[in-house]
Symmetry: C2
Subunit: 109 residues, 2 copies
DNA sequence: ATTATTGTTCGTATTTTTGCGAACAATAAA
DNA sequence: TTTATTGTTCGCAAAAATACGAACAATAAT
């Protein structure tokens, strides 16, 4: 029987920290929840949902994109944003592993 | 058959953002991984693992504690840090729900 | 009473993040 | 060619995060 992995490699730790950082702002969570509820996900649709300047929205999208969680493609003259499927699954697994660190035992203290 | 929940309430969004923010630093991830690997988890043990001043380590622990992810109890003259079990489960569920937003369908774009 | 041990808190400096409006770029329409 | 539409990038200001050493607090040991 395989033992469950009880740690994360350094590279994985850095990646989960990087993704967590991108998730660590209410507006960016709101953007992701909105993307989940929509078929259409142009920049303008996202901006319309949020009470802030378009430059600010653009910055938040850039951070989510730089973290690999979303991708954007130009559909001139608009830009369509979507979840980055592969990376989303990677993120899901990383966080699952992270939270799994403390489920196997009855905890250590 | 129950339909799977496909969104997060505002309060949940804020909580997951708050916890993600606390997770969004490599040192804090490293602390959690270390706590998972140890039975003993005194401040000094944590500090010994990390190449930084004790005041900095103390600050990172405070942020994890303020986010509810860990707790600290005094065992004079030491301080024992542990995962906050209940909140850890809450966090696990919040992140699971977040990542679950995009698994049911074949995605929207 | 001093001294040692264990951590936290304070004050400070540096860097990063957040947010805005203005300016810009790219295409399409008039 | 000018004008509109859609977003990004730039430059700035304010706020927050990061890290350090010094100072402090609480207890225990000498």
């Amino acid at each position: 029987m395989e033992t469950t992995k009880l740690t994360l490699q350094t590279a994985e730790q850095e990646m989960v920290a990087r993704m967590a950082k991108a998730l660590g702002h209410p507006t960016r969570i709101e953007i992701l929840v909105f993307l989940a509820s929509q078929d259409s996900c142009f920049f303008g649709d996202i901006h319309d949902e949020l009470p802030m300047a378009k430059s600010t929205v653009s910055q938040h999208l850039k951070e989510l994109k730089d973290a690999g969680l979303i991708q954007g493609e130009i559909e001139t003259p608009k830009v369509r944003y979507c979840i980055h499927k592969e990376n989303w699954e990677i993120a899901r697994k990383l966080f699952s592993d992270l939270f799994g660190l403390f489920e196997e035992t009855e905890m250590n203290c």
